[in-house]
């Protein structure tokens, strides 16, 4: 049996940052179903926020206010305060590690404007900030190769909880198909989001809720799953991300008539209003028939920025437009639409990354989570751009430290290896044995379609009910599929099927929580309940698995500095 | 058809038979080549290892010389072609850089304008409709039965934005020329690969392996000869051929011709007239095929 003091699942920003923290003292394993540098953190483009004040005077208080207001007052303010206070130090540390930031004329880290931020505080590396930070951390992980054992292309099936304490995980080596148990004193999940549940998404194929659902199945509730962020500028029909930085640099959003419609929705911030507001504005224009050519499409116009500025600040975006839609943004506007992008919800943690299991913040011993898969909550009902790269780095470090401190004094939990292995082997075998006629591809497409249509930017009770029913029916059909690849060697088909199972669970959870929240807040908008309801819903949703059904409970929001006010831009 | 001829260094040195064949075939075709006597070495991708800006300046001076003559520039070496095109691209794409280069050229009485002349390899000229017509009109000895394997040379193919060939990943210009000359083109994967010349002194084994694999392929595809548009490839494939281990093992040998030599043969010149007797690997076995249409 493989043993580590700390086992981290997910090797993106949060996972690698946590590993760098733990390896200072303890033995750490870092497991990923891809290869660390291929993690989805690398796809983030726009920037990482911190109140450095390199471009304009700034303060952590302003960053905190912007974040809390951006989150429509659902963020836990004690956590937000720690998080924004840590930001400058974290940026400088990244720079000291060698991260390649774009610079001002006098050699400082450059910062630009971003949606929802009242000051320009997005530190960036051209328009590939996630890539730059991911590789900087990866370089450090390679430097510390002797103290971090990396398991690349290993899939995490299940969390092992014994007597209320996390003891390890059950995994497969994707290359050989062998199932293994990893015994650990502490387990950290840094497994990312679940945008792939929706049809149009910026997410990689890997964003399939594996970590969230493994925690859920192990008895941990999921917090605020209904809050999904739709990014305003995903490529039309494909969802490929065009960074908000394009708007940060001065890009316009135009409807089919060529108008800058944001004037009607957020006159003071215009294109740089928070993402949920912009996405709803776009969707409203589209629904009213004012999309480009009457289609479900909006134009992102960068022509007036000029080639020089585009090549300096947004070179990757230009190439993406050329490669994926044959449009050169220097000459023509880019076609975009709202695309599922970020999961505000996830595995509930306290502000130290410790996973909690109820409204009283009761910890699940030995289990930690950080990054997009966690819900601290610092983003509340809507995340501001550049706050996620910051979250992954800050909480990657904090969670790593918490796991280290816990594991330092802990014993290995009691774990029955053969029993745990057998459980997973049985599940996998069952999938191999299915001899149905359903097409997994069809099931997946239907899930994505119904979620996009009925649980997307605009929601209402009828659609959500119908969505929940549709997902349940898909879950039944899912049991009647068939595997073509019966081999053990690098069998990507069977993992795609397992991932689909996780996504169907997640889809049901998202739509059920959305149905129950009869208000509009941040990224969750109900056309039948268009107002924010602080009286009844200034609280976090907790979704539990109970006897095969979903049970909803709630958790209070921590409010310290900023009392909820009306949210306008 | 009148052009400024950029000979490159090696055609004046170790492969003078290339220069000889070029002059003779141009004369026979009625192409007027004006030799650029003041032009420097193109840098060959080596000067830029030390100083890329110096390289661009030297090449800008060469371009200015051609501009002053009002003539397009023709190269007879893939390496020259690629390096000149790279300098042209570097300078043309950045007006501030161009000003900097021209500032350096000023005291020598030259200024590079840009956009006035084209830079083409001899094979590109022959591949134009006019070039093809000239060839067809002047062929005296169709090279019927000569199975000819082309070897392009890296610098004339990659990067593709700088290549004058239509499809650098699957070029046909040489093979089409062979057909016009009456020969039978032989296709093989390594015709677009590297001959290894740049590292012949740094890593002889690797260099020989590259050259050897390409030639072995050509032999196994039934080629009678390999024809190349680059004298550095010629040095690697011909002068070093007897030392190449894989060819020694398989007892393969194959004559290597410069492209202008093949053209000159079709135009009626004898092998001696175009320096084929200077080659390290004897071209004698081609005499029988050539003798068919003396």
């Amino acid at each position: 049996m493989i043993k580590h003091d700390v086992l981290i699942v997910g090797a993106g920003l949060a996972g690698q940052r946590a590993a760098l923290e733990v390896c200072k003292e303890l033995d750490v394993g870092l497991l990923t179903k891809v290869y660390p540098s291929r993690s989805h953190s690398g796809a983030a483009q726009g920037g990482i926020a911190a109140s450095l004040g390199n471009s304009e005077d700034d303060s952590w208080e302003e960053h905190m206010f912007d974040t809390v207001k951006g989150g429509d007052y659902l963020a836990d303010q004690d956590a937000v305060e720690e998080y924004v206070k840590a930001a400058p130090r974290v940026i400088y540390e990244l720079e000291h590690m060698g991260c390649a930031f774009s610079r001002t004329e006098d050699g400082k880290i450059a910062q630009r404007s971003f949606g929802g931020h009242s000051k320009p505080r997005a530190c960036f590396s051209a328009d590939r900030t996630g890539h730059a930070i991911l590789h900087a951390l990866h370089e450090q992980v390679l430097k510390n190769a002797k103290s971090i054992k990396i398991y690349s292309e290993w899939y995490m099936h299940q969390l092992v909880i014994e007597e209320g304490r996390c003891c390890g995980v059950v995994v497969s080596n994707i290359r050989t198909g062998e199932v293994e148990v990893i015994h650990a004193k502490a387990v950290v999940f840094a497994t990312g989001g679940y945008g792939r549940v929706f049809k149009i998404t910026t997410n990689a194929f890997a964003g399939t809720a594996d970590g969230a659902i493994a925690a859920f199945r192990a008895g941990v509730p999921l917090e605020d799953p209904e809050f999904v962020q739709f990014h305003p500028s995903g490529l039309y029909r494909q969802g490929i991300l065009f960074s908000e930085a394009a708007r940060g640099e001065g890009g316009y959003l135009l409807n089919g008539a060529g108008d800058r419609f944001m004037e009607q929705y957020a006159p003071s911030r215009m294109e740089l209003a928070p993402r949920d507001i912009v996405a709803r504005a776009e969707q409203s224009e589209i629904d009213a028939g004012r999309g480009v050519n009457g289609e479900a499409c909006i134009h992102l116009d960068l022509r007036h920025l000029g080639e020089a500025r585009i090549m300096e600040r947004l070179p990757q975006i230009r190439q993406l437009g050329i490669d994926f839609i044959g449009v050169d943004c220097v000459k023509d506007p880019l076609p975009i639409q709202p695309s599922a992008h970020y999961s505000m919800g996830g595995i509930p943690t306290n502000m130290f990354g410790q996973v909690i299991t109820d409204a009283d913040s009761t910890p699940m011993q030995g289990f930690f989570a950080a990054g997009e898969c966690a819900c601290v909550s610092v983003h509340g009902a809507n995340r501001l751009g550049t706050n996620s790269l910051l979250e992954a780095t800050v909480f990657g470090e904090r969670t790593g430290r918490s796991a280290l401190e816990y594991a330092r004094n802990a014993e290995f939990g009691k774990l029955n290896e053969s029993h745990q292995k057998a459980r997973v082997l049985k599940q996998v075998e069952e999938i191999f044995q299915r001899d149905g006629s359903e097409s997994y591809n069809d099931i997946r497409n239907e899930m994505k379609d119904v979620m996009m249509e009925k649980c997307g930017v605009f929601r209402d009770a009828d659609n959500l009910k119908s969505c929940v029913d549709a997902i349940r029916s898909l879950k039944e059909r899912y049991k009647k599929g068939k595997v073509t690849d019966k081999g053990q060697l690098f069998n990507t088909e069977v993992y795609e099927i397992i991932e689909l199972g996780n996504m169907l669970e997640m889809a049901e959870i998202i739509s059920t929580a959305a149905l129950a929240r009869t208000e509009s807040r941040g990224g969750h908008y109900r056309t039948d309940f268009p107002k924010r309801d602080d009286q009844d819903f200034l609280k976090h949703t907790l979704v539990y698995s109970k006897d095969g059904e979903l049970e909803l409970k709630y958790k209070p929001v921590v409010i310290t500095r900023y009392q909820p006010k009306e949210r306008t831009y | 058809m009148k052009f400024a001829l950029f000979t490159g260094c090696v055609a004046r040195g170790a492969t003078r038979e290339l220069m000889l064949a070029t002059i003779k075939s141009a004369e026979a075709l009625g192409i007027d080549f004006v030799e650029m006597k003041s032009a420097t070495c193109c840098g060959a991708g080596v000067v830029s290892e030390k100083n890329p800006v110096l390289t661009d300046a030297l090449n800008a001076r060469t371009f200015a010389l051609a501009e002053e003559q009002g003539l397009d520039l023709v190269t007879i070496c893939s390496t020259c072609q690629g390096n000149l095109k790279k300098s042209e691209c570097n300078i043309d794409s950045d007006s501030q850089y161009k000003d900097k280069i021209n500032y350096v050229l000023k005291d020598g009485g030259h200024q590079y304008q840009g956009g006035k002349i084209k830079i083409k390899h001899f094979s590109n000229i022959l591949a134009t409709p006019k070039g093809k017509a000239l060839l067809k009109a002047k062929i005296k000895r169709p090279l019927t039965g000569l199975k000819t394997a082309g070897f392009y040379g890296c610098y004339v193919l990659r990067p593709s934005e700088l290549s004058e060939y239509e499809d650098p990943d699957n070029p046909k210009e040489l093979e089409e020329l062979f057909e016009i000359l009456g020969a039978t083109p032989v296709y093989y994967p390594s015709r677009i690969k590297c001959c290894g010349f740049p590292i012949i002194m740094m890593n002889k084994e690797a260099s020989h392996a590259m050259a050897g694999n390409a030639l072995a392929e050509a032999v196994e595809e039934g080629a009678d000869c390999v024809v190349t548009g680059c004298p550095l490839c010629h040095l690697s494939l011909d002068s070093y051929q007897p030392e190449i281990p894989i060819l020694q093992e398989k007892h393969y040998s194959i004559p290597i011709l410069h492209l202008p030599q093949l053209v000159a043969l079709a135009l009626g010149f004898s092998p001696e007239e175009i320096g084929m007797d200077k080659h390290i690997v004897s071209t004698a076995r081609l005499d029988k095929i050539l003798a068919q249409h003396a």
């Binding site: 291929r38 774009s102 | 100083n51 990659r158």
Partner: protein, 314 residues
């Protein structure tokens, strides 16, 4: 209707690889990856390949299309149908062992990246705030930082094909990312390592890495930048560096390459083995009188040439 001719390999089933054809009418705007997904999800679930971001940033989907390395997600499938052909040939990346179908083993690739010590080396205590770096200094490493480690350059490198000891384009480009970084303090140490056999001077300039790179990383140009730094640092006790120095000296003097001098100056006057290596080819050429003229004539107006060299301090 297009044909996808895919190289299959599954050692669990057969010892040898084979080609299998699938037919699919390529929809407008479909990438090669879109087509592979369609084939896998609708025709043959056993078809195995890596993929994740589908937006050319994770580097997972490297493979060969029509014999040349590319990112499957970045290439329009229709663009791979050329010259009236209706078939696209798909194979795994080259220069790597194949695990299954289009999945290759990247271990050696990563080992070589490790060899160049791919992390910032700076023992000084960092300042409280950021270390300063000008936009111009950032520009020097800008291109190299775009590398997504996809392996396309490694796959098609002509030197790696015949010499697995070569560090290869990806590792060398990564090395430049640090050599060129004003915050890295180990320049000389790095250059010395990179100047050893198998290092930067083993690059044969074939340009495949530049052609196949899906990003602005373009390894060959990074390698040339490394060479310039090596020469500037005076790390010249190797054939490649001496070759460059001799070349520059020759062109300065006469405007042309002196082919008689360069082999000797490249090998080095005291490099007996290297000089002896030149004897067979030298003799062969001498016997055919295939030698450059002993009296090396300069180009016309060579004075202007020398002036230009002096302007650049060469």
């Amino acid at each position: 209707m297009a044909k996808f001719r895919i190289k299959r390999y599954n050692p669990e089933k057969q010892a040898e690889p084979y080609f299998e054809e699938f037919e699919y009418d390529i929809p407008d705007g479909a990438t090669l990856l879109d087509c592979l997904n369609h084939i896998k999800w609708n025709m043959d679930g056993t078809l195995t390949y890596r993929m994740s971001c589908r937006s050319a940033i994770c580097g997972s989907c490297g493979m060969k299309g029509n014999g040349h390395a590319l990112l499957a997600c970045q290439r329009q499938a229709a663009h791979l149908l050329k010259d009236g052909s209706d078939t696209i040939t798909i194979e795994p990346l080259g220069n790597m062992p194949v695990i299954k179908d289009l999945v290759t083993d990247f271990q050696q690739f990563w080992d070589k990246v490790d060899q160049v010590k791919p992390y910032l080396k700076n023992k000084e205590k960092p300042p409280e705030l950021e270390r300063e770096q000008s936009p111009h200094e950032f520009k020097i490493i800008d291109d190299a930082t775009t590398c997504i480690m996809c392996g396309a350059c490694y796959s098609d490198c002509n030197v790696l094909e015949v010499d697995k000891n070569f560090l290869g384009p990806a590792a060398l480009a990564k090395a430049q990312r640090f050599v060129g970084d004003s915050r890295d303090k180990a320049t000389r140490e790095r250059i010395k390592e990179l100047s050893k056999p198998g290092g930067m001077w083993d690059c044969t300039h074939c340009g495949e890495c530049v052609e196949r790179c899906p990003k602005p990383a373009e390894p060959f140009y990074r390698i040339k930048e490394l060479m310039a730094v090596g020469l500037k640092e005076g790390v010249t006790n190797n054939v490649g560096a001496r070759h460059a120095l001799s070349f520059v000296k020759s062109v300065k003097h006469s405007g042309r390459l002196n082919e008689n001098k360069i082999p000797i100056e490249s090998m080095g006057y005291f490099n007996i083995k290297g000089l002896l290596d030149l004897v067979p080819v030298g003799l062969r050429m001498l016997l055919k009188m295939k030698i450059p003229p002993i009296i090396h004539k300069p180009v016309d107006d060579v004075k202007d040439v020398r002036r230009i060299f002096e302007e650049f301090g060469e």
